[in-house]
């Protein structure tokens, strides 16, 4: 007894940190590896043709911009075009008025990505009066 008391006097018990650091590093590596950053999303708003709007349209007919979305591309003013061309056309039209209604007509077999591209171009030039028709 006397011997033990002499041994402990003045010494704090030592804690071995090595295994803890090992575990903590393992956890750290696990979290770094499993961490996956998420994409930043955006929303593109549009309206479907509503019957309640009809009266307003009759009273004050707005300018209409028709864009047809087909599987081969976009048809604007009767001309088939790709996205950069459509971008230029919309840019030119947005110079006159951004409140004009853009009517986007989609064929049933057109890919959804084309519709998103048209909506994105319209949003780019602040054309916010968008309406989607399905044909």
């Amino acid at each position: 007894m006397a011997y033990q008391r002499k041994q402990n006097k003045g010494e704090s018990p030592k804690l071995d940190m090595t295994p803890m650091i090992d575990v903590v590093f393992q956890l750290l590596i696990f979290f770094v590896v499993t961490l996956k950053q998420e994409d930043i999303l955006s929303k593109l708003s549009a309206a479907r043709p509503a019957p309640s709007n009809d009266e307003r349209i009759k009273e004050n007919p707005p300018e209409l911009i028709n864009v047809l979305v087909a599987p081969q591309g976009f048809v604007f003013n009767g001309r088939l075009m790709r996205l950069p061309e459509l971008d230029r056309c919309i840019e030119r039209l947005s110079g006159y008025s951004t409140s004009a209604m853009v009517v986007i007509k989609c064929t049933a077999d057109s890919p959804h990505s084309f519709l998103i591209q048209v909506l994105d171009v319209c949003n780019k030039y602040k054309m916010t009066n968008l309406s989607i028709f399905s044909i």
């Binding site: 998420e38 955006s42 890919p111 959804h112 998103i116 591209q117 909506l119 994105d120």
Partner: protein, 131 residues
């Protein structure tokens, strides 16, 4: 050093979202010019409808039949007493328009005219190369 390491671990535990309830198969089209979706402009009443490339309709990755979706939208309109809550359609870029039209028609039939499509503004994760 241990203090710093513990801080890092706590940071990662807090920021890590282990499971996502979104459908992982959906590849969204780029839409750089849309309105950025943040926690602030996405109120809890937002209805997010997912549509994968095969035309499967889901909410939080739970598959729904068109009738069930109609019921959910109608219940929501009744609960909020208006059809003004935001409806986001998260459709795969490879899906056909007639599949998207089905979802839009369900919304329109239930009385919702204003719809938003979700697109990717900025890619943070590795872009999927499955076209």
């Amino acid at each position: 050093m241990i203090d710093v390491v513990f801080h890092l671990i706590i940071f990662f535990v807090v920021t890590l979202k282990m499971t996502t309830d979104a459908n992982p198969d959906i590849v969204l089209e780029d839409g750089k010019h849309g309105v950025t979706l943040t926690q602030d402009n996405m109120p809890p009443s937002t209805l997010e409808i997912e549509l994968d490339r095969r035309g499967r309709i889901s909410i939080h990755n739970a598959t729904l039949s068109p009738d069930m979706l109609t019921m959910i939208i109608k219940q929501r309109i009744a609960r909020h007493n208006s059809n003004e809550f935001p409806v986001h359609i998260k459709a795969d870029r490879r899906s056909q328009h007639d599949q998207v039209k089905r979802v839009m028609d369900i919304c329109t039939a239930a009385g919702i005219w204003k719809l938003s499509f979700v697109a990717v503004q900025e890619h943070k994760s590795q872009k999927s190369d499955s076209e």
